[in-house]
């Protein structure tokens, strides 16, 4: 009975939409399965484990939500992080991802599929990537036609730029955010194309989902005003645009404010001001058009002059008042870096130190997008040829995301769908044009003659060339996914001399040791990279974690790591630290260890205490060294001592001296490291994590 009803509903839905062909449905189903399957490499190679650092925090919050319910989640104050400050988690996260996982978990459990929460979290990103591919089909269909949509869906299913942040196991905001982004853009373009408020409501709902999911919603709320302004300037203003944008701005801002983290920022912060300004400009434009219909040309000119000057004055006064009273806050550092890339390097070392915030090289572009970088300008050219409102949107989205991806590697993710859509426009147009010459006896009055043999073979060569290009694209994407983007980062692997795989599970070993062997109220000091993992897996309080919201606290930890033992001990006693944790990769050659990050600790610590200068940690020849040429300050620093304690006795292989650091490729400078204020608690199997217990004060 339910099946009959379902098929009836489906049938009526299909007759409302354009009737899709069987081929189309089959292709979309295959694309759906492909997008999911290609993201499963790390699950098949290792296990169903959550990767990286940020996803562990997301997992912990999802667990809290599932265990305690939504109201507890929204009011959660977490005392286990940022000791002694704590963190108001309810008001400082984007809850979209956690709510999605919890909803999926509860739905599955109500259907008796008792999937463990960890598995739901691991596979959520891959499932949403499949959904993104389908939504990209609709977006491409709206921008151009069905063929473009299908090619776009196929391209985005395997594009490495998107896979890198949505692989199974990567449980991060972007996994659901890109789905929400494309959905918002699809509905908005549909609203502009049809002028109906109905589609605009769906766009607003999708936008609300996006605001819940990711801080990148700022991109949408700034892109749409730019789009509206461009259409105004191009002379393509229509009532459809007016209806679409005004509905979107009003309802979107209202819904945006319902997210705790955003709150009144939606009307106060500088990042949202562009949308408000364009909203007022649209009203003004409409008013001017209305008046023009009712006045003679000469009096209209006078009205226009007075009106323009008056409005500019009013706007200027309002903006000045807003900025002077502090009501309108300026652009925050994170987003200001996008407009002025040199800002973070000079002013905010914490933002500059994150590796995914670095600007992009050409090789990252090509590596993440392969042949799409060639096809993007071609698609833009075809958009210019057949210019519609939707095509203008695609061009603006494409060019702005190219610029932002150039400034920050992480934003390659936002560029990937734009590239896929543009490349799809290019591919489908090219293939359509050149396939015409391959048909015999083409129908229609436009092409009554078959192509000449020369023309036929050239067109066949072009089509074959494009097919080869797509074939190389598939090979490249699969290779990149398998080799570069499927490592869980928490388990490392290397190949032994005879080809067998060695696994380094040191991280989990250390966190499990902490969980089992330290008192429940122990406080762990480590660099902020590992905070989320320590709280999630070790279940202990940490001083600083990846949220990096308090620069002074991080600088204090940096100062402790960079100072000599006595100063560091005083800081650690002040902060009630019980254990210190460092990452050391010298034994196995793991280059993302704390000694390589140490200069950032010095720089950030130096923002708190000017006596910590980076030059003191360089050798005589102004190089960063850890061997016998290292500076005194470096050899006496806490980080050096903690990493190389007892390492001078370790002989790796016969050719090398004892205490040879594989990452820096040098023998360490000071081999007899003595620790007076801390004692070694645990060192993992491959010496990757080293945990030290802080000794209590001496008896006086």
């Amino acid at each position: 009975c339910t099946f009959y009803a379902f098929s009836k509903i489906l049938g009526s839905l299909l007759t409302i939409m354009e009737t899709p062909t069987l081929l189309l449905i089959l292709t979309l189903v295959l694309i759906y399965i492909l997008a999911f399957a290609v993201r499963l490499f790390s699950v098949l190679r290792f296990e169903s484990v959550i990767h990286e650092f940020d996803p562990y925090f997301n997992y912990r919050t999802t667990k809290f939500l599932v265990d305690n319910g939504i109201y507890e989640f929204y009011n959660w104050f977490d005392p286990m992080v940022w000791y002694p400050l704590g963190r108001i988690v309810g008001g400082t996260i984007y809850p979209g991802l956690m709510l999605t996982s919890a909803a999926t978990y509860w739905t599955l459990h109500s259907l008796s599929f008792t999937l463990e929460l960890r598995n739901v979290c691991v596979f959520l990103a891959a499932w949403f990537a499949s959904n993104t591919a389908v939504v990209t089909y609709f977006f491409g269909k709206e921008v151009r036609d069905r063929k473009t949509g299908l090619v776009a869906a196929a391209l985005i299913a395997i594009v490495p730029g998107y896979i890198s942040r949505s692989v199974a196991g990567s449980y991060d905001n972007e996994g659901v955010a890109i789905f929400a982004l494309i959905l918002t853009f699809y509905y908005f373009v549909k609203a502009v194309n049809t002028g109906s408020m109905f589609w605009c409501f769906w766009a607003v709902l999708a936008y609300y989902y996006m605001v819940n999911a990711w801080g990148g919603y700022i991109f949408i709320i700034n892109l749409l005003p730019v789009y509206v302004l461009t259409l105004l300037v191009m002379g393509r203003y229509t009532h459809r645009l007016y209806v679409a944008y005004c509905t979107f701005y009003v309802l979107g801002t209202l819904l945006c404010m319902q997210v705790h983290f955003v709150g009144f920022q939606a009307v106060q912060s500088g990042e949202h001001m562009a949308a408000a300004a364009v909203f007022f400009i649209l009203q003004a434009h409409n008013a001017v058009l209305f008046v023009r219909d009712h006045l003679e040309p000469s009096s209209f000119k006078r009205f226009l002059r007075i009106g323009l000057v008056g409005m500019l004055l009013l706007a200027g006064v309002a903006v000045m008042l807003g900025i002077l009273t502090g009501y309108i806050s300026p652009w925050t550092g994170r987003f200001w870096t996008l407009l002025d890339p040199t800002y973070a390097k000079l002013h905010i070392p914490i933002i500059a130190s994150v590796s995914e915030h670095q600007p992009t090289c050409w090789s990252s572009f090509f590596f993440d997008l392969h042949c799409l970088v060639f096809l993007f300008p071609v698609g833009m050219f075809f958009c210019f040829q057949k210019l519609t409102d939707a095509a203008v949107f695609a061009v603006i989205y494409g060019m702005t995301s190219v610029y932002f991806a150039g400034v920050m590697v992480r934003l390659m993710l936002v560029l990937a769908p734009a590239m896929c859509v543009m490349a799809a426009i290019a591919l489908s147009t090219l293939l359509t044009t050149f396939f015409k010459d391959l048909k015999r006896r083409p129908k229609g009055a436009k092409a009554p003659v078959e192509a000449t043999p020369l023309r036929f073979y050239t067109s066949a060569a072009v089509v074959a060339g494009l097919v080869f290009l797509l074939w190389f694209y598939v090979i490249h994407c699969t290779w990149v996914t398998a080799e570069a983007y499927s490592s869980p980062s928490i388990v490392l692997n290397a190949h032994g001399s005879d080809g067998h795989t060695i696994l380094f599970d040191d991280y989990r070993e250390a966190y499990y040791w902490i969980r089992k062997n330290t008192p429940a109220d122990a406080k762990i000091m480590s660099w902020w990279d590992y905070g989320y993992q320590i709280t999630a897996m070790g279940n202990r309080t940490v001083l600083v974690d990846n949220n990096t919201w308090n620069n002074t606290h991080i600088a204090t930890v940096g100062k402790a790591m960079a100072s000599d033992e006595e100063t560091a001990y005083r800081i650690m006693r002040q902060l009630d630290v019980d254990y210190v944790l460092v990452i050391f990769g010298g034994l196995i050659g793991y280059s993302s260890d704390d000694i390589n990050k140490f200069l950032w600790m010095v720089r950030i610590g130096g923002t708190l205490d000017p006596s910590i200068r980076e030059v003191d940690y360089y050798s005589q020849r102004n190089e960063y060294r850890i061997d016998n040429e290292a500076s005194k300050t470096m050899l006496n620093s806490m980080m050096y001592k903690l990493c190389y304690y007892r390492y001078g006795d370790v002989q790796l292989e016969h050719g090398k001296p004892p205490g040879f650091d594989r990452v820096r490729g040098a023998e360490i400078g000071k081999k007899d490291v003595r620790l007076e204020r801390v004692e070694e608690a645990y060192t993992t199997e491959h010496w990757m994590i080293r945990i030290y217990k802080v000794k209590p004060e001496d008896n006086r």
Binding site: V373, P377, M380, T429, D437, V462
Partner: protein, 165 residues
């Protein structure tokens, strides 16, 4: 004698003007608000293509990290110039980046030319236009193939283990 030049912007100017000009002699500015014409589509496309070339060539990376324009490596005790920074995806030299950006645009232009000729939008005034069409098509295919292969060559220098397990 004081003049009352018609200022085209301020409608209340006449009253203020009378007051000011009774005190000082105003200059005779013959200013006009310039009329900004909409640029043609091909000009906008060229500007966008040029900026695309710069951004994908990693110009922001060059501005922040200031790598050398060409690197050097030691070979047999002599210093040799090195165009492509090897072994890392997240580093480049300036010339290498701009060359790659240029190659991306070259490939795109090849495909655009191919399509324009095939659909008859790029019409040549030649006697045997069919042959000329095919010649341009083959040339455009050649340009695209060369651009793609040179970029792959660059990538293979950067990643020696490319497409190997």
């Amino acid at each position: 004698p004081s003049s009352h030049p018609p200022l085209p912007v301020f409608p209340f100017g006449k009253m203020r003007l009378a007051f000011v000009s009774s005190v000082v002699r105003l200059p005779n500015l013959r200013l006009k608000i310039p009329k900004v014409e909409r640029p043609p589509a091909w000009a906008v496309f060229c500007v966008l293509l040029f900026s695309y070339m710069l951004v994908t060539g990693g110009i922001v990376f060059d501005m922040i990290n200031e790598p050398p324009s060409v690197g050097t490596r030691m070979e047999d005790g002599k210093q040799r110039p090195e165009t492509v920074m090897p072994y890392r995806i997240n580093g480049q030299y300036i010339i290498e980046g701009l060359a790659a950006g240029f190659l991306f645009c070259l490939g795109a232009v090849g495909l655009i030319a191919l399509h324009s000729v095939a659909t008859g939008q790029l019409v040549l005034t030649s006697q045997t236009s069919e042959k000329a069409t095919v010649v341009i098509m083959i040339a455009a295919i050649g340009v695209t193939v060369v651009a793609y292969n040179v970029v792959m060559m660059f990538l293979r220098i950067k990643l020696p283990g490319y497409l190997q397990h």
